[in-house]
């Protein structure tokens, strides 16, 4: 038996031991734990605003922390910053490459970032001295498309890529500080923990991984999905990870129990999940699907309690504002809608 075969066997055996350790703490099911709770009443949300202006599919959107501004990226080659209350466009930034797949708003509100098939993450300064929005940095090192990016601060950003890695960058110097490698498939999305010490990534190897930003290592790996993990987010208290997959299910993985606790699925839902966001209290999970709808799930009872139907094409991105007030959906039909 060659050395590599031995190593492979050892890796398998450790994974089995982890599975056993996880089973050992499974002392309750969701049904038992949530037995005393009533399902949330039917949630009916209406479209309050429609943001029109993009000319092609919208691939990504992200709220600013002020809960009023948001940024969206479309394959018409534009990054638009919207005042979602007035529906005015605050900035319309033309991009060098129109094949954009992700965008992000910095917590400070000073910067936005985007990237896509150009394999780069471009950072734009919204508060430049002369009022013009210009490229501040172009972060290039990935060898695959940029699927997602999220700011930690004005000086650091994390990106996920089709080259199966995630990278932590120093924006000032434009260099990569840490490479997070370990996924066996394209990384599709990422989310940063509320305390900024960890982040999670979902990939086409059907798993989600929790990474320690400082150490650069993978702390936990969560499997269970039967297809690509497209969307990922933290439960508001940072103790759990919620994932959405092409297998048409969403799953909740608890970080402390180190395993999947809840699956959100329905036999009548067949199309994959593209995006998800929890409500402020975490009780509701809003998930966008390939079948043009957003389904609202009761997090604790794993039942559907609402549907947002209003887009004429795939819902590609969703976000709940920081104050929990509104949900924004972006679609391939080129519109963004604000619901509550």
């Amino acid at each position: 038996m060659g050395e590599m075969e031995q190593l492979r066997k050892e890796a398998e055996s450790l994974k089995d031991q982890i599975t056993a350790a996880r089973k050992a703490v499974q002392d309750s099911t969701l049904q038992e734990a949530a037995a005393g709770i009533t399902v949330v009443g039917r949630i009916q949300m209406k479209t309050r605003k429609t943001l029109r202006g993009h000319l092609a599919k919208i691939y990504a959107m992200h709220w600013s922390t002020d809960s009023k501004l948001c940024v969206s990226a479309s394959q018409d080659g534009k990054l638009i910053v919207w005042d979602s209350v007035t529906t005015n466009k605050v900035n319309a930034i033309p991009l060098k490459s129109s094949w954009v797949m992700t965008c992000a708003y910095a917590p400070s509100g000073n910067l936005v970032a985007c990237g896509g098939l150009d394999n780069m993450c471009s950072i734009y300064n919204l508060k430049g001295k002369d009022g013009n929005v210009k490229v501040m940095r172009e972060l290039a090192a990935h060898t695959g498309y940029l699927s997602c990016c999220r700011f930690i601060s004005d000086t650091e950003i994390i990106t996920s890529s089709g080259d199966c890695t995630c990278i932590l960058w120093d924006i000032e110097t434009g260099t990569q500080k840490t490479v997070f490698a370990g996924h066996q498939g394209d990384c599709m999305s990422l989310a940063v923990a509320p305390d900024f010490k960890f982040f999670i990534s979902g990939a086409c190897d059907f798993t989600a991984k929790l990474w320690d930003i400082r150490e650069g290592t993978c702390r936990q790996t969560f499997g269970g999905h039967e297809s690509d993990v497209n969307a990922i987010g933290f439960f508001p208290n940072g103790n759990a990870v919620i994932t959405g997959s092409d297998d048409a299910t969403c799953k909740l993985f608890d970080l402390r129990a180190d395993q999947e606790l809840i699956t959100y699925q329905d036999s009548s839902i067949m199309c994959g999940v593209t995006s998800l966001a929890p409500s402020l209290s975490g009780r509701l999970i809003l998930a966008g699907y390939d079948d043009f709808n957003v389904n609202i799930w009761d997090m604790l009872k794993a039942e559907r309690v609402g549907v947002l139907a209003g887009h004429d094409n795939r819902v590609s991105c969703i976000g709940v504002s920081a104050d929990g007030m509104a949900c924004c959906t972006g679609s391939w039909d080129s519109f963004l809608k604000i619901w509550n």
């Binding site: 350790a21 930690i152 000086t155 290592t217 092409d246 609402g306």
Partner: protein, 452 residues
């Protein structure tokens, strides 16, 4: 594409001899087409099978039509599911999207050639354009195209008329989906073609397995909490924050998205003379809530000053700035922190245990972003376990809570008696309380507007 396999399961179930749909013959002009069903049949079956409402069944049924698993017999170009007596048929598995995707240009050329040969002028404008484009592009195989088209037409003439019509319908339906007419949404537009799931970029060599083993060893050693405890934690958290979740409970004075009144945001901006009650309540939920709110932090600082332990919060804030600030300023900031908080006799000396202090002082020799982490963590827990609980019991906090504002619901209405919907969905308890309130107030005016 796994959604296709799921749709196919539904289609197969629909055709199950026992539990499937009732099929009947449908008349199309003078021909009778067997094994057809009406749009209403499809919807009724879906409602019963999946226990969903009509709207959802319609949505699901539409997906099946749009992806070509069911096609309409009347108006074949209109790929919608009509919830009435309109006839539909199942697409043959030969033409299922998952079987024959992606279709080749050659296939499309043969199809258009057949249509052209069969009846002159049968091609639509857009089809004529595509036909001539294909003729240019794959000119070198054109003889083959025409020959194939003629062969297929000859073979179909030998079928019964009913079968021939069915086959033509099936083929037409297939191409309407795979080569949609201009202006019609392309359902099979999959954006980026993702490479095979398990990427070949990641070589599964010894290095890979060694790092997997290390990661797994560390992961194995971690402490795991019982699932019951974790689930309990989620229940408690969402209960605690329920009143603060505007989607679930609405918000006062009014939801700016519904009322167009930004009072809510004005009252909750970063610095206000008097904060709202909900906001001050949140400070008591967890320590980070207090620290991440500018006003909360200010209040806490005032309290600590009274207790002569304000240096702890100043230290924590300075460490945050190192952690998240510009790389170029790290060395300078670390120096400042050392001078002000850690050096013997420092003006704002913080009380850290000797082990952490030694480690930090060692680390300062080569300053980096995370060099203050351990010390910051120590002071954070000190404040959390000691000062924070006492702050919550203090008069300072209690007074803040008492004078905090509970906004009045704005009753601005264009029409009197029109009840403004405050939020998306009330909890059952609230609904009955409000209903009772409304009955008392609105009197007998039946023009009362929006309802739950």
């Amino acid at each position: 594409m796994s959604c296709f396999r799921k749709m196919e399961k539904v289609i197969v179930a629909m055709q199950d001899p026992d539990m499937g749909m009732k099929m009947r013959n449908q008349r199309l002009l003078i021909t009778v087409i067997p094994h057809a069903m009406t749009g209403q049949d499809v919807i009724t079956w879906l409602i019963q099978k999946y226990h969903i409402c009509e709207e959802e069944a319609l949505h699901l049924g539409e997906m099946l039509v749009r992806y070509g698993y069911i096609y309409p017999l009347k108006e074949p170009r209109c790929l919608v599911l009509r919830p009435d007596e309109s006839p539909y048929r199942f697409q043959t598995p030969y033409f299922w999207t998952s079987t024959r995707w992606p279709p080749t240009e050659l296939d499309y050329a043969i199809y258009l050639a057949k249509k052209n040969i069969r009846k002159q002028g049968e091609l639509m404008e857009y089809e004529k354009e595509r036909y001539s484009l294909l003729h240019k592009r794959i000119n070198h195989t054109w003889d083959f195209v025409v020959m194939q088209a003629r062969e297929q037409l000859r073979a179909s003439k030998q079928r019964r008329k009913a079968d021939r019509i069915v086959l033509e319908c099936q083929e037409q339906a297939y191409w309407l989906i795979n080569r949609p007419p201009p202006g019609v949404q392309n359902m099979l537009d999959w954006a980026l073609e993702r490479p095979n799931n398990f990427s070949t970029r990641v070589p599964l060599n010894s290095d890979y397995y060694k790092s997997e083993i290390e990661t797994s060893r560390r992961a194995l050693g971690r402490n795991r909490v019982k699932s019951s405890v974790c689930l309990e934690g989620f229940i408690k958290y969402s209960e605690q924050y329920q009143n603060h979740d505007p989607i679930m409970q609405g918000c006062l004075p009014s939801n700016p998205w519904i009322s167009d009144d930004i009072a809510y945001w004005t009252m909750n901006s970063e610095i206000v003379p008097v904060p709202t009650r909900l906001r001050v309540e949140r400070w008591s939920f967890r320590f980070m809530e207090l620290l991440s709110d500018t006003m909360g932090r200010r209040e806490f600082m005032t309290y600590l000053e009274k207790e002569f332990s304000a240096e702890n919060l100043h230290f924590w804030q300075a460490c945050e700035e190192i952690r998240h600030g510009e790389s170029s300023k790290i060395v300078e900031k670390v120096e400042d922190v050392y001078k002000n908080f850690l050096a013997p006799g420092a003006a704002r000396w913080v009380n850290i245990d000797s082990k952490t202090m030694d480690k930090t002082l060692e680390g300062i020799k080569r300053p980096h972003r995370f060099v203050m982490d351990d010390a910051q963590m120590h002071i954070y827990f000190l404040m959390k376990k000691d000062s924070y609980p006492r702050y919550l019991k203090s008069d300072l906090y209690k007074n803040m809570l008492a004078k905090a504002v509970v906004p009045q619901e704005t009753k601005k209405s264009v029409f009197p008696f029109m009840r403004r919907q405050r939020h998306s969905s009330p909890s059952p308890a609230q609904a009955s309380a409000q209903a009772a309130e409304e009955d008392g107030r609105a009197g007998t005016n039946s023009a009362a507007g929006s309802h739950f």
